[in-house]
Structures are given as structure tokens and as C-alpha cells.
């Protein structure tokens, strides 16, 4: 079983994504633009997790004003590393 996978930074315009195994799908999003973009970020995250067919996972995302492409890139990297770690 893999340890926590962490990708990205807490610098401006970036985000940090952590993944760890879980019995259910849990998504935790902490963003500096909660009011305006929380639901949008959650939609982006859910779409990528869905495409990757990941259901038993705990995802923590700390956003520092990242645009969609950055969220996608960080999450895709984390997913690839997570899959490698868990499937050999």
C-alpha cells in the first residue's frame, strides 16, 4: 500500500495535491478563492478522478489561485504516481 502521494507547491498560482488510499471517495478542497471557485474546482477534480476510475481514494487539494490547467496537471501527475505505487 502506498504512502501519501504529494504533488505541486503552495506558491502563488499553484496548488498542492495529496492522494492516499481510502475505503471511499473523499475530496477535501482548501482554496483561497472558496466563495467564487470551490464548486468549479470540485467539478474539475471529480471529472479527472472519474476519467481515472479512482473511487477508493482520499484527495486533499490546497489551492493558491491555480488555473484549471494547473489543477489538472498536478492531479494527473499525482494519479499516475499513485497508480504506479499501488499497481507496481
Amino acid at each position: 500500500m502506498a504512502d501519501i502521494i504529494t504533488v505541486g507547491t503552495l506558491e502563488s498560482s499553484d496548488c498542492m495535491v495529496s492522494l492516499k488510499p481510502s475505503k471511499t471517495l473523499e475530496i477535501k478542497i482548501d482554496t483561497i478563492v472558496h466563495e467564487a471557485f470551490y464548486h468549479h474546482i470540485k467539478t474539475v477534480v471529480e471529472k479527472i478522478l472519474n476519467e481515472a476510475e479512482l473511487k477508493n481514494i482520499h484527495l486533499s487539494l490546497t489551492d493558491k489561485g491555480a488555473l484549471d490547467y494547473t489543477i489538472k496537471a498536478r492531479l494527473k501527475t499525482a494519479i499516475e504516481r499513485f497508480k504506479e505505487a499501488n499497481n507496481g
Binding site: V7, G8, E11, S12, S13, D14, A66, L67, D68, Y69, T70, K72, A73, R74, K76, T77, E80, R81
Partner: protein, 282 residues
């Protein structure tokens, strides 16, 4: 042909998003030396997602891929497949490295320009063949690696780099390719201006930059000056009036090489938008 080639790391969103405000003539997204080995995958994903979503229009973009010493080149090429980029910067360019790159499959990179980074002593013994390679668009001098490989301490005296600079520029010019000088590692303006002066003296077309703050000075100093444009313009006007390739202007003999140089300078000034509203200059 361009003056400034700015490296930006492929793993920093803030810099990728601002690439078009740095005013560099060419952007080089770096997947190689600026990226730690454990962050290579992050940089690839970020660069690709950025270019798919936000590629700035009309900005030439190169990607410096990794060399194949550590099998990262293939992963880079797989990742950049299909991206809208101008070309790639090939590190540690040699004939063998070019062969490795051009034969590597699967890629659809056959239409991409290749800028060969010359940074090993071996490359200088096949420089003419590298420059004449049909896929090569230009040669770039990689001073830091070359310094490491040759034990030349260029921080003590730049004279030690005179020979590689001359050889690279001669090889590029003989093959009618671009010659791009090594970056100045200091962020001090005086050091940069001195470096740019040497770039001009050795005949390079452009210069690598490692920080956005270096771009304005490079662009200014590698563009033709107002005085030089004025002089070139007078030469071309006199040449057209006299209809001759050999004449006197202000007591100085003007002949074919001087006329050609004046025209090249005006072409360059035109390329950088310095002849606005002056159709006669061309």
C-alpha cells in the same frame, strides 16, 4: 532569427502563465536542467496542459528536452507529441545525439526545428557537420556545461571562451544557420551588458537568457541602434541613386560587402519593427 531566448522552468505555473509578458523573442520551456529528477513528470504534465489550454499566439516556443543519457528523452517526446510548439532544444548535441533524436519513435516531431545546444568538447570536432544537418535550425552555446567538461573557468576570464564562441558562430554562418550565445549567469546589469557586447562582437544573432529581467537589455543591445540604422539607410539610398556597387560617401569608400552589411542591418531593423513608417529604408 531572434535576439532573446528566455528559459523558463516547465514546472512553475506563475512563469508559464506570464511567458508572453516577458517580451522575449523566443521562449524555451525547460524540462532539463531547471527541473529536479523527481519533478520531471510534474513538469511534463504542467507544460503540456498549459500549452493545450493557454498557448500564447505568435510567440515562438521551444522546449528543451532531456538528453537520452537517462532515458528521459523518449518520455519527453511522448509527452510533447502533438503540441503546438516551434521546435526543441536538443541538449549535448552531437551527430550521435541528432541521430538518436531523429530516429526515436513514436514521435510526430519531424516538422519541428532543432536548436542544437553545443556544450561538450566532442561537439566542436564535428561542429560543421552538426550545423549542416538538415534538421538543425540554429546552434546554441551552452557555456556552463562546456566549462564543466573542459575545466575552463569562465568566471575568471571570458577570453577562455573566445575560441568556442568563434568556432560556433563560424560553423553556424557557414551553414546559414542561427548562432545563439550562452547566457550570462550573473543577474547584475553591468555583467550582462558586457556579455551582450561580446555576443555582438563575436557575431552571434541572439543570446540565451536565464531570467526575465535580462530580456529588455538583450533586446535593446542586440537590435540595430538608431545611428547604425541611419548610416545603413544613407548607404542604401546612395547605392540606389548612383546605381553602383562602388562609390564614395563622406570620403569613405563603399563597396559590395558594406552595401550587403547595410542591407542586412536594415532587414534586421525591419524584423524588430524599428523601421515603422519608412518604406524607403528597404
Amino acid at each position: 532569427m531572434a535576439r532573446s531566448y528566455l528559459f523558463i522552468p516547465g514546472n512553475v505555473p506563475r512563469m508559464l502563465q506570464n511567458m508572453d509578458v516577458y517580451d522575449a523573442d523566443v521562449i524555451i520551456i525547460d524540462l532539463e536542467d531547471a527541473i529536479a529528477i523527481e519533478e520531471k513528470d510534474e513538469a511534463r504534465f504542467l507544460t503540456c496542459e498549459f500549452l493545450r489550454a493557454h498557448r500564447p499566439e505568435n510567440l515562438p516556443i521551444l522546449i528543451r528536452i532531456n538528453s537520452d543519457e537517462d532515458s528521459l528523452m523518449r518520455a519527453d517526446l511522448m509527452a510533447i507529441k502533438g503540441l503546438d510548439i516551434t521546435g526543441i532544444v536538443l541538449p549535448k548535441t552531437s551527430l550521435a545525439q541528432l541521430e538518436r533524436f531523429t530516429s526515436m519513435k513514436p514521435t510526430n516531431t519531424t516538422d519541428l526545428e532543432i536548436y542544437g545546444l553545443i556544450e561538450t568538447p566532442e561537439a566542436f570536432f564535428e561542429l560543421d557537420k552538426i550545423a549542416k544537418h538538415p534538421r538543425i535550425k540554429g546552434l546554441m552555446l551552452g557555456g556552463e556545461d562546456l566549462s564543466t567538461h573542459t575545466n575552463i573557468d569562465k568566471s575568471l576570464d571570458e577570453i577562455a571562451f573566445h575560441m568556442p564562441k568563434s568556432l560556433l558562430n563560424f560553423a553556424a554562418k557557414a551553414a546559414q544557420k542561427e548562432a545563439i550565445d550562452t547566457p550570462v549567469s550573473s543577474l547584475d546589469d553591468a555583467a550582462l551588458i558586457q556579455g551582450i557586447k561580446q555576443t555582438k562582437t563575436f557575431g552571434f544573432d541572439g543570446k540565451l537568457a536565464i531570467h526575465p529581467n535580462q530580456v529588455p537589455l538583450i533586446n535593446t543591445h542586440l537590435a540595430p541602434s538608431k545611428t547604425a540604422i541611419h548610416e545603413a539607410r544613407r548607404i542604401i539610398i546612395a547605392h540606389e541613386k548612383k546605381g553602383s556597387m562602388r562609390f564614395s560617401l563622406d570620403g569613405k569608400m563603399i563597396d559590395k560587402p558594406i552595401i550587403q552589411r547595410a542591407q542586412k542591418l536594415l532587414d534586421k531593423a525591419h524584423r524588430y519593427g524599428l523601421l515603422a513608417g519608412d518604406a524607403h529604408a528597404l
